[in-house]
């Protein structure tokens, strides 16, 4: 289904969603940051950015989440699982790369056992994506098989066609239902809409990456490229597809919470054994792990690259390590 949405209807749309019991999450500007967060009305929404600082990940897989509470008595333990974590919501105005991260991550959260926190939230949340009308030099979605107006992962895709108008395309049934629910704010689309979509330069050839990785577990490039890495986890935490977590118990004598927290392979402690031995003892090894996981291991296991080309890791890297540069370098090495 195709529709047209005028910017001046945003108000009605957000208010309508609220009335229908949806929580609305949208890009909001605060100082230098544009973050996806809950909004109450359309005036809070900001669309004048390349990409939000936070990814869509945290709405399905929060940075910190209680997965269990318990009380300890002398002779028994009582456990209670959290309820009500999946809230009916709409994420409005996320980017195609972020939206695509969801089907990529569905694979890991449904593999072996299915993660109910992820699954239930996936069901409860509808994704309304806006195609990118601009990009920056960090963007490389086109190099990992996506496009600034890609539809995968979205329920509804909006694409700018004029300063005030968006072409609305429903992608899934969930999306179609949402559009129907809000029918009044949409109008019919013009016959030949002028889709304003950013161009993103293709930086490397994905096909050449994995074969090189298959052969080059040991290579000087890992250390050389990563020696400026300071070992923080910023890249993994802003990444929409990094999904490692740690589980800790936070408790007193008589009660406690079991908490799931983001963790990241770039931390020294990530692979530290109790004995003190660390199989990934240098930053070079940890950097290799990140690349290998995204472009080799995940591909082998799930037939999908664990990278959507959003470029966030490169933007936030304190030492200006740039992942697409690394991949370009691999491409060059592969060509040698």
């Amino acid at each position: 289904m195709e529709k047209l949405l005028n910017k001046n209807k945003f108000d009605t749309l957000i208010a309508g969603l609220k009335k229908q019991g949806y929580k609305t999450v949208a890009p909001k500007k605060d100082n230098r940051l544009v973050t996806l967060e809950e909004v109450q009305d359309a005036s809070e929404i900001s669309l004048d950015h390349v990409i939000t600082n936070n990814s869509i990940k945290e709405f399905f897989f929060p940075k910190t989440e209680k997965i269990l509470s318990y009380t300890l008595d002398k002779n028994k333990v009582e456990m209670e699982e959290p309820k009500g974590f999946a809230v009916k919501s709409v994420i409005f105005g996320t980017r195609p790369c972020d939206a695509f991260s969801l089907p990529v991550m569905d694979k890991v959260f449904n593999w072996d056992c299915s993660d109910k926190f992820w699954v239930e939230r996936r069901e409860a949340i509808t994704i309304v994506t806006i195609s990118c009308d601009k990009s920056d030099s960090y963007c490389f979605c086109t190099s990992v098989g996506l496009a600034p107006d890609a539809k995968q992962g979205s329920d509804v895709l909006l694409t700018k066609i004029s300063n005030d108008e968006y072409l609305v395309e429903t992608v899934t049934e969930k999306g179609e239902n949402l559009v129907k629910e809000m029918e009044s704010v949409f109008s019919d689309p013009p016959g030949t809409p002028d889709r304003q979509v950013a161009t993103v330069e293709e930086k490397f050839d994905l096909k050449k990456i994995k074969p090189w990785l298959d052969d080059n577990f040991e290579h000087d490039v890992w250390d050389e490229f990563s020696n400026k890495c300071i070992g923080c986890g910023a890249c993994t935490f802003v990444c929409p597809t990094c999904h490692c977590f740690d589980i800790v118990d936070e408790c007193t004598m008589t009660k406690g919470d079991r908490v799931k927290n983001w963790d990241g392979c770039q931390f020294t402690m990530f692979t530290m054994h109790t004995s003190g031995h660390n199989p990934r003892s240098t930053q070079g090894m940890r950097w290799r792990q990140r690349i290998m996981h995204k472009f080799k291991y995940y591909v082998e296991k799930f037939d999908s690259t664990l990278c959507v080309g959003c470029g966030r890791c490169s933007r936030v890297c304190p030492a200006d390590m740039n992942i697409s540069e690394m991949l370009e370098l691999i491409e060059t090495e592969a060509g040698k």
Binding site: T35, N53, K63, K228, I230
Partner: protein, 281 residues
Amino acid sequence: MIEELRKKAEELLKNDTVKVVFGYGEGSVPERTRPVFITKPEDVNKLTWNKYCVYNLTTYLKRQETRKLGKPAIIVKGCDARTIIVLLKECQIKREDVYILGVTCDGVGDPLATKCESCDVHTPRIYDDLVGEKKENKEVPFEERYAELDEYEKLGEKEKWEFWQKQFSKCIKCYACSNMCPLCFCDRCIVEKNQPQWIDSSAHARGNLSWNVTRAYHLAGRCINCEECQRVCPVDIPLNLLNKKLAKEAEKNFDYRPGYSVDDELAMSTYKEEDSQEFFK
């Protein structure tokens, strides 16, 4: 100046004074530079110097990956050189193990970094060699140096709490702040100690408050306000306000500013009988 820097670096590498030069190279975009580690004289052209050289490269003195490269020459601005003084005093480096290539500086960042607005170390206070024209280190009055804090100190208790809760709630516990900080050099950070877990590793409100307060407190009397923690914070928490507040208190109460002299007593390892105790009952 770039040429001079390159020449110096080349010389140092050629005559084997150092094994590696820690410097600034071109970044992925023109508005950024990135740390480079030059080990071969023929690579010195990768060195650059411009207003985007905000990094405090001394953080690489603590990392085993860069330590492995051998004795470094390190390019430092006046502010970065203060870190070196603290590192020397805190036994993290030996003076003979590092060659300090000072650069004089009029300020970095675009717009100008806050730290540069009240800079009184345009010329480094410690160096083996100096590149650039020597500049006067004019003293900046106390009030001016901490003026940034005024608007926050003025807030009421509730506003302060709400302001910081909002800031801390953004924290994702990526630890970029402490990893980037040249003075957060513990092998095992206190947040990584889990028996007992004093600071919750979770990025919830409780854990974020204790982490951010402790990180700042551990820099009391040590932080030289290079603002790297704040620069690298991916969620834009104004961390340096906390550091600056502590620097202000240390200066006010102990008349101490870290990184100005290798001979003074570290503020938090000493005391004076006349230290303030007006808040004691």
